[in-house]
Structure formats: C-alpha cells, structure tokens
C-alpha cells in the first residue's frame, strides 16, 4: 500500500531559484535561509520517498486566465519547467507517476473533490524551487514528482477550510493506492508577503509564526479565517499559506513535528519550513 511518510512546507520565492543557480546559498544574505533546510534535506535522504506531491500555485506559466481551475492535478509521465519571462533558468524535466495520479484523481472525485486532470502541465517556480531547495539541482531528479495546483491567483480562491479538507481527501486517496509507494507531500508558498500596490512589502512575523505553530499541531485553527482576513494580515500574496493545509490535512492529526525553520525577510517574504513525520 502507498504510505504517506511525511510532509514538508517551503516557500517558493522566485529569487531562491536564482540564488541556487548562481551559487549564492552561502552568501550572508542567503545563508541562514538555506541552512535551515539542512535538517529537512537530511530527513528526506533517510526517508527516501518514491514520490513527492507538490502543492503549489501556478503563476501564469501553465494556466492563463482563460481557464483557471481551483484545483488541478498533473496526470502525466513528465512535467517540464519553462521560461516564465522572469529570467529563471529552466530546470531538467520531472518524472511523474501517471498511475498514481489517476488513482488520486478518481478517489478525489469519488470524495466530491471534482479536480481538473492535466495530461500536459508545465510546472513553474512554485513547484520547482521547493524541490531545488530540498534536493539541490539535478539533470535526473532523484524522486518522482506530481503537481497539485491550487488557484491562489484569481479570486474567488478556495478557503483554508476547503484546502484542509482537500488534504484529508488526498490522504484517503493515497491510503487506498495498492502499490508500495512512499510519498512525501510538499505544501508550498507563503508565508506573509505582498508584492503589489502601496502596501507592498508587508511581512507579519508574529502571524507567520502563529500559522506555523498551529498548522503543525492544530491546523483547524487556520480555518477560522476568511481569505479576506488572511490577506489583511499576511498580504495579498500571503494567501498562498492556505496551500500548507492541503499537505497538513493529508497527514495524521498527531504527526510528529521534526523541524521548524523561519526566516524573514527573504526577498519580499517571510519564509517557513516545517518537517512533519507521519510514521
């Protein structure tokens, strides 16, 4: 049977990709941010997942605004990164697990999450950068990867409560997969940041830390907030934090918290890493 061995959260800031490409990870600005990933990297090396499911939002690479699925799942054998117009160097393509994806899609629809299935799906920095931060760069990635995209770009955006429920349905889907597949779920994006408007540049350290603490041990706490309330505290782009709840919902309520790392600012953002062991 498939087994969810754990969950990790990571911000997916574009500048992180450039820092890795340009070999800047030990420069003073970046060092503390990247050093905080080391325990997560060590845990992944020991846990050896076969597949990572990456919960992220597309920022206008795969999805234009002509069609914006609220939840979309990659159901392909391969996922390519590509030019996003931001000067990020495209990475090697990622190998998927189409059979697992289609099983997840079927189970989610049976559980009334009517997810959009994608047989072609370009993956942007939101998907790529957390994998690069956790695994380093590779021509052949050492793990299979499945993209699960959540619309956090064009409102209406799903609520924190809905994301937590999707995670629980994802957990059930994986538990019912007959193959012996070891899965880690990455919840990406956030934490507080706002790129746009006169309020650009806000970071709320206290709110970020409270979100990290509660998502780790009491994720229902996040569901008290409307999206407007999250935007008010965490910024218009900070709404991405709801995607951490998809990861968290898929894990056991009492999953062990192995590592918590927070850094601010990195680029425009408060950035957090959680490692949760589900075994």
């Amino acid at each position: 049977m498939a087994k969810i061995i754990g969950g990790i959260t990571s911000s997916h800031i574009p500048a992180v990709g450039n820092a890795i490409s340009q070999g800047l990870t030990q420069e003073p600005y970046w060092k503390r941010f990247f050093d905080g990933y080391e325990p997560a990297k060590t845990w992944l090396q020991q846990a050896k997942p076969d597949v990572v499911i990456v919960v992220y939002n597309d920022h206008g690479l795969n999805f234009f605004l002509d069609k914006v699925p609220t939840f979309a799942l990659g159901c392909a054998d391969i996922y390519e990164n590509a030019d996003e117009g931001w000067g990020l160097k495209p990475t090697a393509p990622f190998t998927g697990d189409a059979q697992l994806s289609w099983h997840i899609a079927q189970s989610l629809v049976e559980q009334e999450f009517d997810i959009c299935t994608c047989q072609e799906m370009k993956v942007d920095h939101g998907f790529v950068n957390p994998i690069r931060a956790l695994y380093g760069d590779h021509e052949q990635w050492p793990v299979k990867a499945i993209p699960l995209a959540v619309n956090t770009v064009q409102h209406p955006v799903p609520s924190a409560a809905r994301c937590l429920k999707l995670g629980r349905a994802l957990g059930k889907a994986l538990e019912s997969y007959p193959e012996d597949t070891r899965v880690v779920i990455l919840g990406t994006g956030g934490l507080s940041h706002q790129l746009q408007g006169e309020r650009a540049g806000i970071i709320d350290v206290e709110f970020d830390l409270e979100c990290m603490d509660k998502i780790a041990t009491e994720p229902e706490w996040m569901t008290q907030f409307s999206n407007a309330e999250i935007i008010r505290r965490a910024g218009s782009e900070g709404i991405e934090t709801i995607m951490w709840l998809v990861m968290r919902g898929a894990l056991k309520d009492d999953a062990a918290v192995l590592h918590k790392h927070y850094h601010a600012p990195i680029s425009n953002t408060g950035a957090g890493v959680l490692v949760l062991d589900n075994q």
């Binding site: 931001w86 408007g197 309020r199 650009a200 350290v205 603490d213 918590k260 425009n268």
Partner: protein, 133 residues
C-alpha cells in the same frame, strides 16, 4: 449592473485580483502572458504600440503600457505575476516595482523589508522550538 462588494475591498493599498479586475483587463493580461515567450518579448520591444494593437490593448491600458506605469496597470486590473513578466526583463525587479508603488527608492523599500527581520533570532529563541542557526 454593479460589481458585488467584497470584504477585502477596504484593505488599503491592495488590489485583490478578482473578477472585477480580471474581466476588464483580460486583453492586457493576455498580452503580458505572451511574455513567457522570448520571441514575443522581442516583438514587443521592437514596437510596443504595434504589439498593443495586435493584442487588442487599447485606450488607458495602452497608454499605461507605453508609459510603463506599473501602478496604473495594477489598478486597472493587470495581475502582479503577469505584470512581472513585463517588469523583470526590463530591469525592473519586483522590489523596484514595490518601491515605485510606494513612491520611495528601492534602497528604502529593501531597508524596510530588512527591518521586518529585526530581533528575529530573539523571537525564535523565546519560542524555543525553532531551528535558530
């Protein structure tokens, strides 16, 4: 018909990208989306006005594109992630744009960001269960 009021409308300095913004700004966002393609970026650079015409970007939207008025574009409904596809290849970073939105220099904007991290190590030490370098 009026657009329905939203509970985020009163957040200052914030232009939540919803139907009210996406609907009138569809053409400009479509133009910005084409900048994923290097050939389209080059075509735009060669003659921005002609590229706007080709993509159906007219009126105030076209004026704002030609003036590189990023805040104006945002207010009219350009999405920040799509707008970044125009800014970044022109040497305008997201932080430069953030500074421009506030009418301050990029250095001031960056300093304000750095100030958000003041005392972080002490805050994390008090909480006790965070990795702290």
């Amino acid at each position: 018909m009026n657009w329905q009021k939203q509970d985020y409308d009163d957040i200052p300095g914030t232009y939540v990208f919803d139907g009210q913004r996406a609907h009138p700004a569809y053409a400009i966002n479509k133009l910005l989306y084409t900048f994923n393609d290097e050939a389209c970026r080059a075509e735009f650079d060669a003659d921005p006005a002609a590229y706007c015409d080709k993509m159906g970007v007219t009126g105030d939207f076209k004026k704002a594109v030609l003036a590189q008025d990023f805040l104006g574009l945002l207010r009219m409904g350009a999405n920040i992630y799509f707008l970044a596809k125009m800014c970044i290849p022109r040497g305008v970073s997201v932080q430069d744009a953030g500074a421009a939105f506030q009418g301050i220099s990029t250095e001031e904007f960056q300093q304000r960001l750095l100030d958000k991290g003041n005392g972080l190590s002490d805050i994390l030490a008090k909480r006790g269960d965070y990795w702290n370098g």
